[in-house]
Amino acid sequence: MTLVHSGPEPDVIEQIVQDLFSGLLGEMEALPYACPHDGSPLGVTASVSVTGGWSGHVVFSCGEEVGRHIAAGLLMSEPSDINDDDLSDAMGEVANVIGGNVKSVMPGPSKLSLPATVIGTANDRRPGAVETTRVELAWHDGPLVVSVWSAADNHSGEE
């Protein structure tokens, strides 16, 4: 069996994020822009997994303050009013929307997991999976990183 690691093109991910921010956060908010991230750990990470025709993980990370701005934008409230439950829920929904769209462009049929959110610096090593796509953006002066990981069980079916 040959391991075939594949993932969506970065511009597909960037477009999903732009559509998500313009559609769900409203026209008053500026859109994220491409901006290299220095690799420092980020304070909130939400992820979903896809299992089936293509298997992998879709991970969305940002700083906690930026995460509270996102949650506030989604809930139309103030960042200072966002509690950890709101932050977790909002970040999970962002990962869910990005993951659902990634699932739609990758080979199927497949299933999407429920989102999981970690508040605090997450260890994002995923044994057996390979990061195939990474998009680094910025919003509200903080980084937003979307990474797509192809799982080890994406085989070509040939010897």
């Binding site: 999903i16 559509d19 998500l20 313009s22 559609g23 769900l24 949650a71 989604l74 809930l75 139309m76 709101d86 829920d89 909002a90 999970g92 929904e93 869910n96 929307v97 990005i98 993951g99 659902g100 769209n101 699932k103 739609s104 199927g108 049929p109 999407l112 429920l114």
Partner: protein, 120 residues
């Protein structure tokens, strides 16, 4: 007009409420359920004119929620609001009796386009 919104995410329920308002359904009476199972109960107790449901939820998925309603002979309009908008998911939704599927991220215009033919 009563609309039942079913989604395990409170954030997404709130976004759907806001989008309904922006789409011109601000006068509708909106009730909310946090799971498919709760949705089944609330359809019975609230008798909504239409159900909008997420697909991917714990305990009972939106698809199982829809199947449950149809199996009990309940044919009220039901639409999905979900992050998964592939042709396969749309086909599955339609096969099981959904009136439409709105993919996230969405716009008020997308809501209006699918709701108008169903509820006016």
């Amino acid at each position: 007009m009563k609309i039942l919104i079913t989604d395990d995410s409170r954030v997404m329920r709130q976004i759907v409420v806001r989008t309904l308002r922006q789409a011109g359904y601000g006068d509708a009476d909106v009730v909310e359920a946090g799971s498919g199972a709760e949705g089944v109960t609330m359809v019975s107790s609230e008798q909504p004119d239409i159900v909008l449901s997420d697909w991917n939820m714990p305990e009972m998925s939106g698809l199982d929620f829809l199947k449950n309603l149809r199996a009990s002979g309940d044919n009220r309009p039901f639409g999905f609001v979900t992050s998964e908008g592939s042709p396969q998911m749309r086909e599955l939704a339609e096969e099981n009796g959904a009136a439409f599927l709105i993919a996230k991220p969405f716009t008020p215009e997308a809501f209006k386009a699918v709701l108008q033919p169903v509820i006016g």
